[in-house]
Subunit: 443 residues, 2 copies
């Protein structure tokens, strides 16, 4: 199956609504905006990611003849299905560039298109933007608490399926991670790869020395040794004893990996063993159920650890495995629209976000306004697709990564911590937007 371009990766109601729009001849321009309603409790900001995949989907999404035949078996009308044969997205898209900091109620992506098109892509657009934005925002927390450390995504095995593993690697790299262990993500997104060996490799050999030697001979440029299979410090002493034989073969041990027990205490003991043996350049890499809280603790207590492998907590965003995000109709046929459901009311109209910075380059406040309003600050939404075509080629991932780094550097100190800030970042609404909302409520 081709998950990148099949429109059947959608909710049934998108298709029944489509049939409704076709039946009623409704084809006027609709404006939908994707945004996050509120932050999870442990987040002070979000980092936009997944826009590139959303755009690629909009550009390529179509129905295969075989899919249309199948829909016919599901009770869809022949005249609706005929319209799907050359159904393509031909609308406009505005979006915050990947790596942009964002906050609740701010449109991250806006689609302007005939309503059948703007409606139909809802499910997959949300699925793509939600996941990567969630992971980039999660990864940024580790990046903030462990500056200068090598951070590697280790999460494929417990990511929620293949795409989650791949896009988690991408979003984490965008947020500032150094590398991923997921080979296909390295290939697809040009992310540096990192990896060592598993316990099974050690266990399959009769001794740790033998396992270390054979691994290093076969992978001379990746000589990182897992040392916790039986006894961590003992394994490091074996490595020290083995080092002259490795060096004879031109192999330089790069690092050891700790994966269990008290990582800080082991790291200190291991560092001493290595240093006493003159192996100061051999690094210490740690993994094993790590979270950003644990990273902060290890870094804060000065544990001599050079890099961290973070898996499950990163790839599942385990403390906040979803964002309260939505894709809402804000305008149809030139008229602003507003949903008033209890607790779920929305801001109507096409919107823009203006961000202000202080003299030191820190972000100060955002203003959500109607498109066309003029306000000081940086407008965050930019046009990216017009009439279904990209306005510029796909942005290299490293450009988005640099933008994210600048964004993280612009965070005021109270938003940089792992705990909720005393006061949320100020997101205000323009007078015109407030007035429009009130006017719709009275109508």
């Amino acid at each position: 199956m081709n998950l990148e371009s099949t429109i059947l990766l959608t909710d049934l109601y998108e298709l029944t609504m489509l049939q409704g729009y076709f039946h009623a001849g409704m084809n006027e321009t609709a404006v939908f905006e994707f945004f996050v309603r509120k932050l999870p409790k442990n987040r002070n900001f979000l980092l936009v990611a997944g826009v590139e995949q959303a755009l690629a989907f909009l550009e390529s999404a179509h129905f295969e003849p075989e899919e249309i035949d199948w829909l016919a078996t599901q009770g869809f009308r022949r005249e609706s299905l005929e319209k799907l044969r050359d159904f393509r997205f031909q609308g406009d898209v505005h979006a915050m560039p990947e790596g942009t900091l964002c906050f609740p109620e701010e449109p991250i992506l806006r689609i302007t298109a005939p309503i059948p098109q703007a409606q139909l892509f809802e499910s997959r657009i949300m699925n793509l933007l939600h996941f990567q934005t969630m992971i980039a925002s999660k990864a940024a927390r580790s990046v903030l608490v462990a500056p200068g450390k090598e951070l590697v995504d280790f999460g494929l095995r417990r990511a929620h399926g293949a795409e989650a593993g791949l896009y988690a690697a991408r979003a984490a790299f965008l947020a500032g991670f150094s590398a991923t262990a997921t080979v296909l993500a390295g290939k697809l997104f040009e992310i540096p790869l990192s990896g060592t060996m598993a316990h099974s490799f050690i266990q399959a050999h009769d001794s740790e020395e033998e396992a270390f030697l054979r691994f290093a001979e076969a992978n001379p440029d990746r000589a990182v040794f897992l040392v916790d299979t039986y006894d961590t410090e003992e394994a490091v002493r074996k490595l020290v004893a083995l080092t002259p034989r490795l060096e004879e073969r031109g192999i330089r041990p790069l690092a050891v990996r700790l994966d269990s027990g008290d990582l800080g205490a082991h790291a200190r003991r291991v560092r001493r063993i290595l240093d006493d043996a003159g192996l100061r350049r051999v690094g210490i890499f740690a993994s094993g159920n790590l979270t950003e809280e644990r990273l902060q603790e290890l870094v804060g207590t000065g544990a001599p650890i050079d890099g961290f492998g973070i898996g499950t907590s990163l790839d599942t965003s385990s403390d906040a495995p979803y964002l309260d995000c939505v894709y809402k109709l804000e305008e149809y046929a030139g008229r602003p629209r507003r949903k008033r459901s209890e607790g779920k009311a929305t801001w109507p109209g096409r919107k823009q976000v203006f961000r202000r910075y202080d003299a030191d380059g820190r972000i100060v406040s955002d203003l959500v306004a109607l498109e066309g309003e003029d306000h000081p600050g940086e407008p965050l939404l930019v046009p990216v697709l017009r009439d279904g075509k990209r306005l510029s080629p796909p942005e290299p991932l490293r450009v988005a990564r640099d933008r994210a780094a600048r964004g993280l550097a612009s965070l005021p100190s109270d938003l940089r911590g792992l705990s909720p800030a005393a006061a949320p970042y100020p997101v205000r609404f323009s007078t015109k937007l407030e007035a429009l909302r009130s006017a719709l409520d009275r109508s």
Copy 2:
């Protein structure tokens, strides 16, 4: 990209270890077992799912020439890469059938193959088994607290990517859900589809009546109406007034959907309005941030709701977004192996699980023993692949679903609740297995 069969969907260390095995000429038989170390705190049992996808992957996984060329750019040796050209899984697999109840420390799937093969598939096998088992186990909780209710998976938009959305639909159906909203999952897995309309459809029309009428005309067999866009009870009164016109057109309103506010209170008021109008056969369907706890409360207080749409909490398993699962080497070259890392020690050897039932068909206790031991009870692991080939054709999903239903019916009452049981289900270990573990610890 073809995510179903590319071995590059793996961790780098699987490939560096492979190179190590090749280099050392290690090709003897290895036995790896996949199991869950412990249950998340809100789970009293797990339901096995994802075995079918794991087997399909093992059968089809291979390296494309273009992938091998790419690996050459990543520093892999030419002689290793040559061996990958016709690399195929040719080993044996034993597994618990999908829909089987399972508990910690019990092998769910066992791979017996030359060590390079058994090692290489680790990452994706875990990725596939972990996710669906987690989701089936999550879905079973809703099935248990809402017997007789229609339960529909609504989670695609906040599932972690495409595959998560598709496999969540499959795992939830396997666990007893009635349907999914995800169209492609319906097509791929023959799951009934269910869906209504979004708020945007209502908002795009000038009035709710008009939206209801047009939707029903276009979808006469799917006349379910979303009633909470503005005022829930008012919308239901509009639908009542509209019903004669619908019936003139041969359309029978099937249900209304509530999506916000106090669902129980709205359901009672809506039920009364519908009943007073003689529309007793029009059902009430509810959605909106539902969890199994909320379902239990609504069902327990007798809210007149016939079905529930459950999205985010289901597809992300939000209260427990991962399982502590592993894939461990238990035997190599005929010798049992045991990992002794702190807090992560494993049970060695090839294992079988025997399950005992009481006279009423309730499960009583499980015994984990070494393969070949003879014990009373049902042996849960069965051979499924031999020499890389299936022993029987893929099992229809409905067969696994029936097995899950029988499994859930066999749960003793203290394991059926949403809260942790006072005592966990008893999983014991045979004397021979205990003796083997002790012997390895002394060696």
